[in-house]
Amino acid sequence: MSIKQILVVFGLLLSSFVYSQNKQILYGFAEMPNTLMVNPGAETNYRYHGGIPGLSGLSLNIGASGGALSDLFLKDNTTFNTKFENLSNKLTNRSFLSFNAKIDILNGGYRLDEKTYLSFGMYQEVDFIGYYPKDIVELLYYGNQPFINKTVHFSDLKFRGEMLGVIHAGLSYKMNKKLNVGGRFKLYSGSLHISSKNNAGTFSTEQGVNNVYRHNVTNVNITSNSSGFFDADENLNVGLKDVLGNTLLSKNIGVGVDVGFTYHYSPQIEFTGSILDVGFVSYSKNNRNLSITGNHEFDGVNLLYDSTNTDYWSQLDSDFKANVPRKTNADSYIVWRPIKLNGAVRYSFGRARTNKECYDVTYKEYYNNSVGLQLFAITRPLSTQIAATAFLEKSIAENFHVKFTYTMDDFSKSNVGVGVSTQMGIFQMYGMFGNILKFSNLTGATTASVQFGFNLIFD
């Protein structure tokens, strides 16, 4: 094995494959095949490409708004309990943890004619976001004694997680010299899904009249949907083989589209935009939906001293169940995918080099520098999350491009990223690092991202 090969393997084994769902470095970067996945209207200047199966696009991201791993696990002189309490104090019910992993199983593309490029593939995705149910966690951690007269809000409970496989095919079409448009059709195959949001209701303990305290469960409406977790007997049953198998054409089918465009306002100014994952999945297999609704007041047990041998406790229990019924069903339901929006403006400058496109007779001007702004938005259960990125892209050599980004979003106001893309012969690879300022102490970072990809490009 050559040194280079050893380093490739070593690098692959060590790298954590973390990449932001906001693919701010990948978006619009250096005309790589993977940019077609974030903008189907991206321009392509090659004849065909093939991703190395499993390696053409690996990404995993963890982001925490308001807290970092070191808040809980730093090796210092405070106890874990103190760290937990401090972190919980810092967080609010709008703080969240998000996690997204994507693996390209197959990715390829083929030029149909001088205007049209077809790309297709299959990838698996795991996506999770959970908001911090502060009231509920603190009720469980401290008990209700510190919360007499305070209200615990069940609406704090908000999370969704999904695992699915996506088979896709897209076209990038050059309408004219200025405008390139594209679209992608996606077939989703849902494997696992769980969510609970739009919950309502409160729990409170107040000074009572009949007894020392009155405990109230008010206007409760808690619902959750899940698919793939519970079997027909309502037992938790998740088998890895089934989970992976279901990412390829399961009974939970859905469709979605991506659309995008690239518009050259002038040879040096370019606008791009895309909308991704406008689609849904219909879950029907191994569903378990839960709903808890109602109102209840509890004063304690009222002893009657009337010799009727009342079973007070059973009475309490049946009263509660009648007032706050808990229902389950296995109905199918539809879940909309989180929609992502990208928009960017780019200004290119510096030395221009005109390249003959290999497949037709037109020429394209490539500047070796560009700057610009990107905006990213993603729909989430609580609110739409937005990130803004400023970038500088530079071609250091004909086949070596670097992109620097500065991003502001819910996770960080100091997220500086760098991406590198290079091509040696037909072998194209890219590496991207987000949040590099925190790289020497990743554990204190609230977001981390590194991405790898290998493709074969045939010009």
Binding site: L72, F73, F80, H215, G300, N399, V450
Partner: protein, 184 residues
């Protein structure tokens, strides 16, 4: 333009990753211990003079009257494993011009006593009688078998020989709450 080699790329990866997870100790989570305190209303009742008067025989009821409620909180494995102390608070408004003796007993499924508090004496005409009783689980593990709570009230005889008048209203209001100290 010169094509650059990609070897430096991987060296950068390796260098950066070696320093990216320092100073963490995940084993700290084993030290995690929550100490929640839950307070809940328990039993309550209001008795009046008729409850202590046998109208048929026109005599006072001199034996204790009692009632029992189920109390199955301690059946939960989580509570059994993590309860370290229970505190019982009682608040009594005694409008009688007589003393009462209150006996609170916890019983298991076979009606065998698992814990009995010492008799609580409530003085006459005391509107704000309060008392706190504590059960420390360590040393009183049989308390964890409790599934019932029985409250028995005994009217003390008058000091001057007088008898209750069933037509004059007098009330005994009893309230109670429990505090459960847990430690995971």
């Amino acid at each position: 333009m010169k094509k650059l080699k990609s070897t430096p790329l991987f060296l950068i990866f390796i260098l950066m990753l070696s320093s990216c997870v320092k100073h963490l100790d995940f084993s700290q989570i084993e030290d995690f211990s929550a100490k929640p305190i839950f307070e809940s209303s328990l039993v309550y009742f209001t008795l009046n003079q008729v409850d202590f008067f046998d109208l048929i025989n026109s005599v006072e009821v001199v034996t204790p009257i009692d009632d029992t409620s189920g109390f199955t909180i301690l059946r939960s494995k989580f509570v059994k494993d993590n309860l370290i102390e229970t505190e019982l608070n009682i608040e009594v408004n005694n409008q009688f011009d007589r003393e009462f003796t209150v006996n609170i007993t916890f019983l298991d499924e076979n009606n065998i006593e698992t814990h009995a508090f010492d008799p609580i004496i409530v003085a006459e005409n005391n509107p704000n009688f309060t008392q706190k009783e504590t059960i420390t689980i360590s040393g009183n593990e049989q308390f964890l078998r409790s599934t019932k709570i029985r409250v028995s009230i005994e009217l003390s005889p008058s000091s001057d020989g007088s008898v209750l008048d069933p037509n004059i209203e007098q009330k005994l209001e009893f309230k109670s709450s429990g505090i459960f100290y847990l430690k995971t």
